[in-house]
C-alpha cells in the first residue's frame, strides 16, 4: 500500500500543497520549523484520524484560517480517494466520494506506523505508555478491541465513582463489578495473545539494529494474576482506603527485558533508543503479517539519535519495506541525513511550507 497523492489546504504551515509520491523511500530534507513533520502528521492523520503529536484539530489549522483540508489517493488493493475537512463547526470525511458513516469502514484504508523521539517514553515512561502501545496495535488489528476498551473504561469510571461514595450499595457495586470483570477478561485475553507474537518480532528487529548479542524479550505483565473476580474481591479492603479500583487491565504493563534485566533501569541511553525503534518495527511487521502489505513508515527525526553502527543496522530494515512496494517517509535536517542511503531514494526539500523534489541521482 502506498500514498500516491497528498493534498493539503491550510494545514499547519501549508497554505496549499499537491504532491505525487511513488512507492519507495522518501527523504524530507529541510531546516527546523519548515514543515517536515507536518507532512508526516498529515499522513498519520489520514491513517488514524488523529495527530501523533497528541493535539486536537484546532492546532492543525493554519494560523488565522477557519479549517484544514487533507486529501489523498491511496493505492493498495485498488485506488481509494480520501477527503477530510475539519473546522471548529464542521467535520467531513469521505472515502471515494461517499461520506464515511462508520469508522470501522474507514480505518485500514491507509495504515501507518510512526517513529518519533517521543517513542523513547515507551521504554522510560510509565506503564500507561506501554498500555497505549498495546491498545493502539490491538485497535488496528482487532475490530472489536476498541469498543471493548471503551466499555471497560466506562465500567471502571462507574465503579470508581461508587467507591468514592461514603455508603456503597453492595448490590449495585456487584453489578458494576460484574461488568468490569466480564469486559476486563476479554481485554486481558487479547493482550495475552498479542504479546508472545510481538516479542520475537521485536527481538529480531533489535538484534538487527543493535548488531550485538543482547536478547530483547517482551513479557505481558497483567495486573490480574489468575482470576479477576477473586483478586478484585481480595482487594476490597485496600479499595476502600484508596477509593478506587486497584486491580485490572488498567494496571497492566508490558515488561521490556534486555538480557533478562528490566530495560528502563539497566539499559544505556543508546540501548533504550534502539529498543523504542525495535518496538515500532515489531508493530510494523506485525501489521504486515496480518494484512499482507506493509504499512507506510513515517520516521521523524530518529536518525540523529543513533550512532553510525545502529544507523547502519536500521537502514536495511527500512529499505526492505519498499521491496514489497511499501513506502517510507523520513524527515532529516541537511546535516544528519543518512548519506549511506544514497541509492534509490527520492529526496525532497522542505522549506517554509513548500515541497520540492530533488533529482534522485545518487550522491557521491
Amino acid at each position: 500500500m502506498h500514498l500516491a497523492h497528498l493534498r493539503l489546504r491550510d494545514f499547519r504551515n501549508y497554505a496549499r500543497l499537491d504532491a505525487e509520491f511513488s512507492p519507495g523511500f522518501h527523504l524530507l530534507l529541510g531546516d527546523n520549523a519548515q514543515g517536515k513533520t507536518n507532512i508526516l502528521e498529515a499522513i498519520y492523520l489520514l491513517a488514524t484520524l488523529r495527530s501523533f503529536r497528541g493535539v486536537g484539530g484546532a492546532q492543525m489549522v493554519r494560523h488565522d484560517h477557519k479549517g484544514y483540508f487533507v486529501g489523498a489517493r491511496v493505492v493498495g488493493q485498488g485506488t481509494r480517494q480520501i477527503r477530510m475537512y475539519w473546522s471548529a463547526t464542521e467535520r467531513q470525511l469521505s472515502l471515494d466520494g461517499q461520506p464515511v458513516r462508520r469508522l470501522s469502514d474507514y480505518l485500514g484504508v491507509l495504515r501507518a506506523v510512526v517513529f518519533c523521539t517521543e517513542d523513547l517514553q515507551l521504554v522510560k515512561g510509565p506503564a500507561a505508555r506501554r498500555r497505549r502501545f498495546l491498545d493502539l496495535l490491538l485497535s488496528q488489528t482487532h475490530p472489536t478491541y476498541l469498543p471493548l476498551l471503551q466499555r471497560y473504561t466506562a465500567a471502571l469510571r462507574s465503579r470508581n465513582a461508587l467507591l468514592k461514595q461514603s455508603l456503597v450499595d453492595a448490590m449495585a457495586f456487584d453489578s458494576f463489578t460484574q461488568e468490569l470483570v466480564s469486559v476486563g477478561n476479554q481485554i486481558i485475553a487479547l493482550r495475552r495473545e498479542l504479546v508472545p507474537r510481538l516479542s520475537p518480532l521485536a527481538r529480531l528487529a533489535y538484534r538487527r539494529i543493535a548488531n550485538d548479542a543482547e536478547e530483547l524479550k517482551l513479557a505481558y505483565q497483567p495486573s490480574v494474576k489468575t482470576d479477576f473476580a477473586i483478586e478484585l474481591a481480595a482487594s476490597r479492603a485496600r479499595e476502600r482506603s484508596y477509593r478506587m479500583t486497584l486491580v485490572g487491565p488498567h494496571r497492566d504493563d508490558l515488561a521490556l527485558m534486555l538480557n533478562d534485566q528490566p530495560a528502563a533501569q539497566f539499559a544505556s541511553e543508546g540501548q533504550k533508543r534502539t529498543l523504542a525503534i525495535a518496538l515500532k518495527m515489531a508493530q510494523a511487521e506485525y501489521v504486515t503479517g496480518l494484512h499482507g502489505t506493509p504499512p507506510v513508515l513515517l520516521i521523524d527525526d530518529v536518525m540523529g539519535e543513533l550512532d553510525v553502527r545502529r544507523r547502519s543496522g536500521l537502514l536495511p530494515l527500512l529499505e526492505r519495506s519498499h521491496q514489497a512496494s511499501g513506502q517510507v517517509f523520513m524527515t532529516c535536517t541537511e546535516e544528519n541525513w543518512p548519506r549511506e542511503l544514497g541509492r534509490r531514494l527520492q529526496r525532497w526539500i522542505v522549506s517554509a511550507g513548500s515541497l520540492r523534489a530533488v533529482d534522485s541521482a545518487p550522491t557521491p
Binding site: R102, S104, P143, T144, P147, L148, R151, A154, A155, R157, S158, R159, A161, L162, Q165, D169, M171, A172, D174, S175, F176, Q178, E179, V183
Partner: protein, 200 residues
C-alpha cells in the same frame, strides 16, 4: 446591547433550552412565532399548557397517560403475568408497536449511573417490588439499554429480584432482522455469534 426586543430574546432563550434545539433553530422558531397569526400562536400556547397539565406519568407503570392508571395497565386482554421493565416512557411505545409483547410495562425512569449520581433509590424499583407483590406476575422481562450502565442495571435487578422466585429474563443481543450481515458492527456480530442457537 441587543437590538432585539426583550420578549423576543426571552422566547429564544426558552426555546433554546428544549432538547435538540440550538441557538440558530431557537432564533428561527422565535422569529416565526412573533410574526405568526396571533390565533395560531394562541393555539400553540394552549396546546403546550394543556398537554403539560393533562399528561402525567401513570401511577402504576410510569408510562405517559391522561387517565390513572393508564390504558395499558387496565387493558384486561393483556397478560398480567408478564411484566416488561424499560428505562424511559418512550420505550413502552417502541415495544408496544411491535405488537408481539402482550404483557404489561414498568418504567424505571433511568438507569444506575454512579457517575451522574443515579442510585437505586432514584429509580422506580420500590414500585416494581410492590407490583410483584400485588399483581400475579410470573416473569419479568428486562428491556434496558446494553451500554455498561444499562447492563449493570439489568444485573442489579436480577440480583435484587432473585429472592422473590420470579423468572427474570432479558432481551437477546443479535443481528438486526431482515438485513445482511454487513449492517451489523463487529461487536454486535460477535455477540450474535455467542448467542447462536440450533435451528429446529
Amino acid at each position: 446591547m441587543s437590538a432585539l426586543p426583550e420578549p423576543l430574546v426571552d422566547l429564544m432563550a426558552a426555546l433554546g433550552r428544549l432538547p435538540g434545539i440550538g441557538p440558530r433553530t431557537a432564533e428561527r422558531l422565535a422569529l416565526h412565532i412573533v410574526q405568526a397569526d396571533p390565533a395560531e400562536v394562541d393555539r400553540l400556547a394552549t396546546a403546550l399548557t394543556t398537554a403539560r397539565l393533562r399528561v402525567k406519568a401513570c401511577e402504576r407503570c410510569g408510562a405517559l397517560t391522561e387517565a390513572q392508571p393508564c390504558a395499558l395497565c387496565t387493558d384486561d386482554r393483556r397478560d398480567a403475568s408478564l411484566l416488561c421493565v424499560v428505562e424511559r416512557p418512550v420505550d413502552v411505545l417502541l415495544l408496544d408497536k411491535t405488537g408481539v409483547f402482550r404483557g404489561r410495562f414498568h418504567v424505571l425512569g433511568g438507569k444506575l449511573s454512579p457517575i451522574n449520581g443515579v442510585e437505586p433509590e432514584d429509580l422506580r424499583i420500590r414500585e416494581l417490588e410492590l407490583r410483584l407483590t400485588a399483581e400475579p406476575i410470573r416473569e419479568v422481562v428486562l428491556a434496558l439499554p446494553t451500554d455498561v450502565e444499562g447492563d449493570a442495571t439489568s444485573s442489579y435487578l436480577a440480583r435484587r429480584l432473585a429472592p422473590r422466585g420470579v423468572r427474570v429474563t432479558r432481551l437477546a443481543h443479535g443481528l438486526p432482522a431482515g438485513t445482511g450481515l454487513e449492517f451489523a458492527d463487529e461487536l454486535t456480530l460477535s455477540r450474535a455469534l455467542e448467542g447462536r442457537r440450533p435451528l429446529d
